[in-house]
Symmetry: C2
Subunit: 310 residues, 2 copies
């Protein structure tokens, strides 16, 4: 027996093995691309979006800052599409195109859409886009819902002595974190709620989301989950809601473990804040209102960066 | 059901839950520290080495560049040791101590010992050390052995079409990687071999390791595994060899999947190279000699950095 993880191409393998992602993007690109269109693929990775666009008849420029672009180049050549895709190893913001493009495709979304790396890149898209040009995805919506999470029991690790010392103080820090989970819909304890909708290019640098979620089930709530739906084309949506099997999963914003029941309400504000180094962080606060029982206020902030691997 | 991973303190939780690491360091620190000694803990993390040293009667300075030091500070206070440990959030190379220390403790080792982050820190230790002062660990040995790895079948992913394209070209890139595994000793197909021994402070920036490993079992070889043994004190060794259950595991340097049998020999050279950005990378080459059958030469280089999470 051996367990282990692949360092090299594993992240890309996981994305390519994500059937929901693959099916949605293939359908959307095939629908959106007409022969002769000019397409820009931002963050091409192993190149599969560029390959689909080229196969549909586009002239493609595929940009990627990392060495993985050599994999994409090789695969394009092996599939006879090297003359239809120009690969550029660069930060796309340093890129100057000969002519603007009709379509920008990308899939560099984080678990709750926002990532440090991509926000400035998205903002830069209009520079490359011809009049009437579009982005794929062209719209994003953000959703939240309260959930019970069995894995939360891992936090109990800190309640037992470690190395002969009381480590329970670490719990306060562990609860300040946003986590990545892949939850089943049965775990939701509140109604899901759409808290934001915006265009890909217009995704905000900083925002504040408000949610008031009605409790549907008597259960313990551990976290509020956040996820995105990406409208790839008018006909194709890629959703990362609980129950989907994408590699994205959902972001879990912790709340104090609290027993809730129908009639209770979770009120919450989630803020996206840019710190001085232009790294985004999440801050959230709110209250679990339980008519006839004590309200449970909560607040947290991912300003703490703990270092080390995930 | 939910699966997921904790971003925040998870890495530190895994280290604290590593019983072999914990038992070895607790025994070693308890053995090495005498009341009144001055101890420097490099990269204290959640602070457990510093806590053991303080409990054994030392005056401790604990250094850590990341926010996790706030967890250590809190835990030290909760355990009544705040007055015996001075926590300093800094790169230790920026640190100036009032007086040199008798003992430097650290556990910032990578899977095959070397890490980008720690080599310069280790080199800087003598500046803090009193005459006659020692390091814990004080010696490191590196070991290698050929192995068969069932997980290698994951590479077969690239042999099937992906998104309707031939992605088999990615295999050449996937095989240029070093992987992290946790292998059982039954998977070894050659005798293990010690290829280097050095003091903690004298760990080299660049080196070239030579190995000639005799095949013991008729099996398929997929990789040569590398691991370290750390001599913490004269009495305590922390080993990460196959079969141990540490969070380190072993580094797997890939070779072409090849059937081997007793009498065959794997000859190999592993080079640690610093690139222009002072990031270390591995390069390895060698030959699988099979008397009466074709030799199998191989070479690889982790110069490719693929970006994205592991």
């Amino acid at each position: 027996m051996s367990r282990g993880h692949f360092i090299g191409l594993n992240h890309h393998r996981r994305m390519l093995a994500d059937r929901e992602r693959m099916a949605a993007y293939e359908a959307a690109i095939t629908e959106a691309v007409r022969p002769g269109m000019r397409v820009l693929d931002l963050g091409t990775g192993t190149g599969v979006l560029a390959l689909w666009a080229a196969r549909a008849g586009a002239e493609v420029v595929a940009v990627e800052p990392h060495a993985v672009i050599e994999v994409a180049r090789r695969v394009a050549a092996d599939n006879g599409l090297a003359d239809r895709i120009r690969f550029v190893r660069a930060d796309s913001r340093e890129l100057t195109l000969d002519a603007p493009v009709d379509l920008v495709v990308t899939e560099c979304m984080g678990n709750f859409f926002v990532t440090d790396e991509m926000q400035p890149v998205l903002r830069d898209i209009p520079r490359h886009l011809a009049p009437g040009g579009v982005t794929l995805p062209h719209g994003i919506s953000l959703h939240v819902a309260g959930a019970t999470l069995p894995m939360w029991n891992e936090l109990a690790f800190w309640e037992e002595p470690v190395g002969g010392f009381d480590f329970s103080g670490a719990l306060d820090f562990a609860r300040q974190s946003a986590y990545v989970v892949a939850a089943e819909p049965e775990l939701l304890v509140t109604a899901p709620m759409c808290v934001a909708q915006f265009g890909l290019v217009k995704s905000p640098d900083e925002f504040s989301l408000q949610a008031s979620m009605e409790v549907l089930h008597r259960r313990t709530i551990h976290a509020v989950l956040g996820w995105f739906d990406a409208q790839l084309t008018p006909d194709v949506v890629l959703s990362t809601r609980p129950g989907t099997r994408t590699h994205w999963g959902q972001t879990a914003f912790s709340v104090p473990a609290t027993s809730v029941e129908p009639g209770d309400v979770v009120e919450m504000e989630i803020e996206l804040v840019m710190d001085a180094e232009l790294k985004s962080r999440w801050a959230w606060r709110g209250v679990i209102r339980r008519p006839g029982r004590d309200d449970v206020p909560f607040s947290a902030d991912t300003a703490m960066r703990f270092g080390g691997a995930a």
